[in-house]
Symmetry: C2
Subunit: 161 residues, 2 copies
Amino acid sequence: MDAPAAKALRTRRPVDSSALAGTVGYRLRLAQLTVFQDFIETFEELDIRPADYAVLLLIGDNPGCKQGEIAAALGIKRANFVALMNRIEERGLAERRARSSDRRSHALHLTDKGAQFVERMKELQTGHEARLVAALGGEADRDRFLSYLERIIEGKWTGRT
Amino acid sequence: MDAPAAKALRTRRPVDSSALAGTVGYRLRLAQLTVFQDFIETFEELDIRPADYAVLLLIGDNPGCKQGEIAAALGIKRANFVALMNRIEERGLAERRARSSDRRSHALHLTDKGAQFVERMKELQTGHEARLVAALGGEADRDRFLSYLERIIEGKWTGRT
DNA sequence: TCGAATTGTTTGCTAGTATAACAATTATTG
DNA sequence: CAATAATTGTTATACTAGCAAACAATTCGA
């Protein structure tokens, strides 16, 4: 008899998921997963995930910021930000400095090593984004696509909120 | 002095997240979260989440399917599908039937109650989708948007995969 | 000065996802 | 046929992510 794979190809009627596939939300989720996957692979050499990337980028653009400010800008709860920031600090990429004005909060800064790291991050991000834009059809299509995303994010269409 | 809120408005320079916001992946994630949020609110009355919705819909369209087939079609691991299916079965919406041909696998079927449930699901989904399509600008824009998503999902643009 | 608010932190809970191992069953193959 | 391999559902386990509640230290507001 044939190999199992051949048999599978012949006898297995594929599951009909057309009712799901016709849905905007479902395809949006698939697209998001695809992009995240490529993002993760792109940044594998730096051993960071999307959240780390975002935090480092924002600290770089907002030196001296408080933890809560970065967290809020990214939709991360203060409580969950602690472990994230601990990892980043242990890797020597950023640090919490004391502030004279307010001893409750910490001022976040990139280290020199962190600044170099962010430069490398941006190089990798440029490649990732370029591939994605090319897949969309070019700059004009990217803008159109972003416009659609913006209409969804704006959120005035949602039921209760 | 002013109220705290007023002070915040005056003195807090907002965090600059423009480097992140200009990114396709970031906005894609925000849009996906927005849609999921509306989905969850829409289906609150039925007490189901996106995964339950997808499983019930697929069982309805593929009666007699095996657990592993539904799971694979949704990108869910067989191991994680068990608890999901247990909940659905305990609610009396679907059932695992024995098969004479292969006593290893179960044939999944909606119960009568489950079939009614799926009808209500589809009603709610229609409303959710209609709101979303309206936000995008109408049917033509939805098709254009889906086309963009498809280009991303196709995935031929990704680095390693 | 005293109560309220802010800030970072810890702890505990839930959901989602991944792997490994297992028993029962079925398929393959020498 | 008998031994071996593959399939299927299941359990157990772990790890990530996220949320809420509570807390100490500190600062603010009245």
